[in-house]
Amino acid sequence: MTAVQIVFLAVAALTLAAAVMVVSLRRMMQSALALILALVGVAVIFALLGSGFFAVSQVVVYIGAIAILIIFAVMLTQNSMSPEHSQMNPGFLYAALGSALLFSSLVFILSMWVGFYAIPVNLDPSVDTITVLGLSLTDPQGFALPFEIVSVLLLAALIGGIYIARDHHRD
């Protein structure tokens, strides 16, 4: 095993453990912290794969913005912080069963995919992947249309979010 593989296994285990903690911890804030830890783990895995841009984007977007949005959302809800409530509802057994089924079928499908066994090719170090990404994002033959659609999607998200969150009592 190489050092990279050891680091990968440790980080993957940490990420999974943090993900379990997100749903099992009783205090909301500690759950949020565990979520952040899981997101950091994913960022480290991106960095291990040699994609620094995605690693940093992961931290900027998920920890810098989404985690904070989640914390603000938690503060908006009432009574969600009290640890007295039971974390299980009567349907948890069915939910667990459904999740297990979904997970195993995903693993089954993925194991049949050729990409699962492919050995990653080392990138040509002389090519700057970020430049390539930027060029293809605006290339009409590449991802120009998805790039513009992302903008429309973000606009829709912004308008929808503001419409829902707005204080309707004042109008």
């Binding site: 960095a47 603000f72 990404l133 930027g134 994002l137 605006t138 790039f147 979010g161 707005r166």
Partner: protein
């Protein structure tokens, strides 16, 4: 595989270790004499009323939402900016359209009073 990220990873660990070590050393040097009054919540000498984790105003949430949208948008623009020197004028205009759409979102939020602090 020794590259830039190894240094970043090590440096992050060191940056976390240094303040943690300083706090641990201080905790070892410092006296420990807690008492009920000393440990009570500070509120200008008055007893605290109610729960700390009160419900917050929706305004913070809206700011966070607008911020999130702009954050994601800008992250998309960084590869474009890196490739800017090699882009055609057409590709630059694509990004301008991208930005104008988002500017439209900002104007919508402004007109709806979502950016008004009151």
């Amino acid at each position: 595989m020794v590259n830039d990220w190894v240094y970043i990873g090590l440096f992050i660990l060191i940056s976390l270790f240094l303040p943690a070590a300083a706090i641990l050393i201080a905790g070892w040097l410092a006296p420990k004499k807690p008492n009920k009054i000393k440990n009570s919540t500070y509120e200008c000498g008055i007893e605290t009323v109610g729960d700390t984790w009160v419900q917050f105003r929706v305004q913070y949430y809206i700011y966070a939402l607008v911020f999130l949208v702009f954050d994601v948008e800008t992250v998309f623009l960084y590869p474009w900016a890196v490739a800017y020197r090699q882009l055609t004028l057409f590709a630059v205009l694509e990004a301008v359209v991208f930005l104008l759409l988002l500017a439209g979102g900002l104007i919508y939020a402004w007109k709806k009073g979502a950016l008004q602090w009151n």
